[in-house]
Structure formats: structure tokens, C-alpha cells
């Protein structure tokens, strides 16, 4: 596995910063350049702002297990001062990083030379006040908190609460609540581990706090269900407040029905009225007030339904695709194979398939919609299902919180697309 394969992508609250994590445990942050005031329609480009090693491989000696350094999730904290804070997590440990700029340097110390060597006090004959001099911008990342040893299973999600003081972390069987200031203890708020592991039927696959209600969070399961929990009701939220499940279509049952119904991502809309779930073949939008079925279902790559056995063999059926909303919740986006990604406009009910590849992405050129030929005669420019490259998968995408800018991670490449507004 190449260490530079991107494993998570996340815009910060303003959209000026874009963080990516990779399998090698590194975090790379891009910053949007200030727009040129002279040109009204110029768009700032994203350039590398900071790079740091967030997690290293570890070895659990007690269990003889290696802990991967791969960054599973990055979540930004809302900005409160000049510095930026983000949470990054691997399978076991969450870290709070402070990213700060330094563009001034003090010069003229009395007790030490410019290169840091201490001066002999007896040689000091005069005192001076150090002055601040500008220097080349340096962006420093420093770990401020390390939240460790709270998860027996692999962490799949972290989510910052709207109170900006707490956050949750979820692994396969448990969800913990942390305070950002306190690292030596966390509260377990969901525990679905059965007394007898042989009775295990489902695991937690994703969890997220409600964007506005600081007492509400949801978690999805491998069985295709979502539970909404209210932390006010009890300390341990094993009993859900709401339970979202769509009845299974018995006609589509196969060996792999259970796998493809497993939810790989759940995201609240910005409004907090809806949530979206991604399973292997589709994206579903749920109204929080309706538990019986989703209000929208969008097929991402239904043509794969007949290929599930092959996808099981090559492990692609276990790929965990993420999904995201645009700033106004009018559109949703998710990835697919062959470096394709799909966008669905909820208002017009239109969808489009686009490709993130170097050949098709000339700067300033528009992306051409792609089409997969599902059978019969293949038209020009269409791609047949059998020609799809299943190694080129887009699992992680992010949408700027306010503007029409998207970030798409294709293996080890990051694509940033902007929508031209004439």
C-alpha cells in the first residue's frame, strides 16, 4: 500500500483551508489564496499550507498487533483565534493539532547570540530591548492533546459537537464522548458489544453529531440502519430515540445483500433537517422526522449490482464510500470507480457523472459528463462496465461549505474543482 494514498479530505468551516490525511499518517493542509481584488471573478487557488506527520505506526505489544498510522478522519474545530485546530485520528488514537503561523521573529536578545548561543554575562555591557522582525512565513503544527487508549476496536468516525467543547469518537462497537480539554478520560455513550461475541450481528460504521442540537447524534450500522440518540435521555445511549431503516426489497436478495446494505457514511445536512447515508450502491436522504424510509434514493452505480460476486472476490465490495452535501443542501456528491464521482441535484433531480483524471482535467476547462454503458450498444464516449478500473476509486470527497468548490481524492491525487459562474 502506498503511503500517499489519501484517506480523508475535509474543508474547514470557512472553506479557506482544506486538510487531507493519507495512509502514511501525514496531514497536508491546503490554503486558498487570497483572491485578487482587481479581478472580480478570479478564484483563489489552493496551495500547500502545512504538512506534518500526525500519526506513526505503533505496535501494541500486549496484543501483538500493529496499529496502522493511516489517518481515518480529520475534523476541523471552529476557529476561535488566529490559530487553527483540527482533530485527526487513526485506528486507535485521536490527536488535536494546532496549526499556527509565525511570521515574526524576535531579534536582539541580551543573553544569547543570534544563533542561540548563550553569551557570557560578564561581557554584556549594555542592555537592549529585543525587537520583532518579519520573517518568512512559517506554519507550525503542534500536537496539543492526545486522546488515547479509549478504543478497543478500530475508530471509524470523529465528530465535533456544536458546543465546540466536546466531540465523539466511534469504533466498531462503541462511541465515546470526549471533552477537548481532557485527555485522560472519556465517557462511553454507546456500547453495542454483546455479552457473547458470537451473538454479534452488526457493528457501528459511522457517527456524527447533529449540526445544531448538541445533545443529538446519529450512528449508522453495518445492517443498513441508523439510530438517532439523545444524550439527555440517559447517560448510556444504547436505546435510540429514533430508528431509521428501509424495508429490504425481497426480490433483490442475494448472497451479498447484507454487505451492500452496510452504511459506509452518514452526514447531516447543514440545515440539520436531513441526513444522508451511503451504502454500496446508493445514496439515501432521510428526513429526521420519518423513520420508515428515506425521502430520496439516488443510485450511484446500479450497473454493479450484477457484478457483486466479482466485486466480492476482489474486495471492492468492502470499499467505504463517503458522501457530502453542498453548502445549501441542494446537491449531494459521492464517489465511484474509474475515478468517477457523482453529483445529484436534489431540486432538479438531475445527476451527473464526472471524472477526476489528469487527461480530462485541463485547468480552466470544463469537466465533461461521463456515462457508463450498461448494456447493448456502447455509444461513443461511453464506457462499458467491464472497462471500469476498479482500482481507481474515489472514496473521499468534500464540498466547500459555502461556495461551489469541491475536493476529490483519487488514490494519491487531490483534485479541486470550481464551478465557473459567469
Amino acid at each position: 500500500m502506498r503511503a500517499d494514498i489519501i484517506s480523508t479530505v475535509e474543508f474547514n468551516y470557512s472553506g479557506d483551508l482544506l486538510a487531507t490525511g493519507d495512509k502514511g499518517g501525514r496531514v497536508v493542509i491546503f490554503q486558498r489564496e487570497q483572491e485578487n481584488k482587481g479581478r472580480a471573478h478570479s478564484r483563489g487557488e489552493y496551495n500547500v499550507y502545512s504538512t506534518f506527520q500526525s500519526h506513526e505506526p505503533e505496535f501494541d505489544y500486549l496484543k501483538s498487533l500493529e496499529i496502522e498510522e493511516k489517518i481515518n478522519k480529520i475534523r476541523w474545530l471552529p476557529q476561535q483565534n488566529a490559530a487553527h485546530f483540527l482533530l485527526s485520528t487513526n485506528d486507535k488514537t485521536i490527536k488535536l493539532w494546532k496549526i499556527s503561523e509565525r511570521d515574526k521573529r524576535a531579534e536582539g536578545y541580551n543573553l544569547k547570540d543570534e544563533d542561540g548561543r548563550l553569551r557570557d554575562p560578564f561581557r554584556i555591557t549594555a542592555l537592549r530591548v529585543p525587537i520583532l522582525k518579519p520573517m518568512d512565513l512559517m506554519v507550525e503544527a503542534s500536537p496539543r492533546r492526545i486522546f488515547a487508549n479509549a478504543h478497543t476496536y478500530h475508530i471509524n468516525s470523529i465528530s465535533v459537537n456544536s458546543d465546540h467543547e466536546t466531540y465523539l469518537s466511534a469504533d466498531d462497537l462503541r462511541i465515546n464522548l470526549w471533552h477537548l480539554e481532557i485527555t485522560d478520560r472519556s465517557f462511553n455513550i454507546v456500547d453495542i458489544k454483546p455479552a457473547n461475541m458470537e451473538e454479534l450481528t452488526e457493528v457501528i460504521t459511522a457517527a456524527e453529531f447533529h449540526p445544531h442540537q448538541c445533545n443529538v447524534f446519529v450512528y449508522s450500522s453495518s445492517k443498513g440502519t441508523i439510530r438517532l440518540c439523545d444524550m439527555r435521555s440517559s447517560a448510556l445511549c444504547d436505546r435510540h430515540a429514533k430508528f431509521f431503516e428501509e424495508p429490504e426489497d425481497p426480490s433483490s436478495r442475494s448472497f451479498f445483500s447484507e454487505i451492500i446494505s452496510s452504511i459506509s457514511d452518514v452526514k447531516f445536512s447543514h440545515s440539520g433537517r436531513y441526513m444522508m447515508t451511503r451504502d454500496y450502491l446508493s445514496v439515501k436522504v432521510w428526513d429526521l422526522n420519518m423513520e420508515g424510509r428515506p425521502v430520496e434514493t439516488h443510485q450511484v452505480h446500479e450497473y454493479l449490482r450484477s457484478k457483486l460476486c466479482s466485486l466480492y472476490e476482489n474486495d471492492c465490495i468492502f470499499d467505504k464510500f463517503e458522501c457530502c452535501w453542498n453548502g445549501s443542501d441542494s446537491a449531494i456528491m459521492t464517489g465511484s470507480y474509474n475515478n468517477f464521482f457523482r453529483m445529484f441535484d436534489r431540486n432538479t433531480r438531475r445527476d451527473v457523472t464526472l471524472e477526476a483524471s489528469r487527461e480530462n482535467s485541463k485547468p480552466r476547462a470544463s469537466l465533461k459528463p461521463r456515462k457508463v454503458c450498461t448494456g447493448g450498444k456502447r455509444k461513443k464516449d461511453e464506457i462499458s462496465v467491464d472497462s471500469l478500473d476498479f482500482n481507481k476509486k474515489i472514496l473521499h470527497t468534500a464540498w466547500h461549505p459555502m461556495e461551489s468548490i469541491i475536493a476529490v481524492a483519487a488514490t494519491n491525487n487531490l483534485y479541486i474543482f470550481q464551478d465557473k459562474i459567469n
Binding site: 501494541d60 500486549l62 501483538s64 485506528d91 462497537l173 461475541m197 450481528t201 448472497f255 447484507e258 454487505i259
Partner: protein
Amino acid sequence: MEFKLEAHRIVSISLGKIYNSRVQRGGIKLHKNLLVSLVLRSARQVYLSDPCPGLYLAGPTGTPAVPPPQQPGEPVAGPPSGWGEPPPPAGRAAWPEPEPQPQRPMVCHTPGAGSSEPVTSVAGAGDALRGGETDSAAAAWSRVERPRAAASGSGSDTCPEGPRAVRRSCGCPPAREEQPVGDGSPAPPAPCPRKRGAAGVGGGRAGCPAPGSTPLKKPRRNSEEQPSTTDEDTDEEMETGNVANLISIFGSSFSGLLRKSPAGGREEEEAEESGPEAAEPGQICCDKPVLRDMSPWSTAIVAF
């Protein structure tokens, strides 16, 4: 018929995945393994519900399977010795007949690299398997515990099982009771060498040998011999020895899958071993009479 073949193929793929997951970096992925076990269960249900006598062929005496080698220094936890060692040949009867003989199922495709690979890597990577499997000190402790329990329970690790092999008479349950913590590692199969022929990890109450089974002596094997492909005839012959080894390794971890009868529905879906955390060692406890009539290959599937 093709459902059965498809199910068979899916079972072997799934077993390979579960095996590979043990040597993957980062530890066992609970989610993925749970999903694979669900597929296994579905495939098993299809396989068992689609009786197809023509699938089974009375073959020669079967393949000496390769039991995973002992890890040096590891407590002798009763390796699955004699796994795949066929009982003395008796009448070759077509399935389904309750016989103390392992039936040699015929498959309509060559297992090829698919099935042979896991076995060789089993033989070769048994150490890695063991090493990666131990989740905790309790696991190691339970491995030590087990042979004692096994010894006291059944009195021998050469306790035989017929092809029905529905009982695990190795004293595992007592061992299990002694270890509420459980270990969840693949070590549990190791101390239960009662698997005979090709995959007789049937369930059953502790200490109840399969009725009518012929006692078999199961010599311990430490060699890394390759599973000899059945010398004879058809390339359609399936190497159940490979399956036998895989099952011996995974056996206990999948015991839960046998709780319910094949038609039992989904209420109680079992999972294989947990990730880092210890799981109770499984007890195969399917004592449906149907198992008695099944070929080793079907029994293998039932085991999962």
C-alpha cells in the same frame, strides 16, 4: 445445481478472505470479517438447502491434510493433527449415507490456486496466524488451559470422529467454562484435533463422540508437507484437505454460525472472532441429524 456450485465457490473465497485478514496489517477488521461471515452463512444455507446427490463422488482414500505446524515454544495445544487424515476406506457409498467414511465430494471445477493457496500459506504461515491471533494474555493463557481441559475431558487428543463429526469431543466446553474470558483466537481449533477426514467440525455437546464413529489414531504432524493433491483421476476432485485445514483453524471462531439450523433464520447471526478483544471460544453445537448424512465438504460448510 449451479446455486450449489456458486455457493461452494463463495464459501472458498470467503474462507480465503478470513484467513488473509489475520495476517493483514493493523489487526483484524471486525466489520469486514463480520460481513464475510454473513456471506459464508448465506452460502452455506444455499448449499445445504439444495441437495444434489450427483455432486458427490466416492473417491479414493482422501488426502492427508496438512495441519498447521506447531509454533515453536508455544504450548502444545493439541494441534489439529490428523486433520484430513482419512479413516480406513470402507464402502464407497454415494451421499448421503451415514458412514464412518469421509465422502469425497466431486466438484465441477478445479479448485486450482484458489484453494491450494490458502493451505500452503496455512502451513507456512501458521506461526503468523498464531502470532497475530493472540489478542491478549488471556488468549495465551487459555491456549495453555485448553490442552489440559482437553486431556481431562476426553482423555485423548486422538479422539476420533466419523465423518459426521458433529461433536467436538475434545472437552472444549469444559475448557470454555474455565475461561469465561475466552480467547477468540484461532487457537481453539488447535486443541480439538478430532476433526477427521475432511472437515468434520460438527457441533455438538461436549464429550459426545459422534455415534458410530470409528476411532482413529491421529498422529501429530509438524511437517510442512504440502497437501498432496489427490493423485487420482479427475481434475474435478476437490482438495477437501485444504478446507479441512482452514476449518481447523477457523473452526471455533465460527462455531456460533452453527447455533441455528440452516433454516433457522437470521435471528441469531454469529460473528467470527472479535478483533482485538477476546471472544469466547466457540463451541460447535449443531446436532442436527442432517449432518450425519453429509459429505465432508458439506460438513465443512456447515461448520461455518
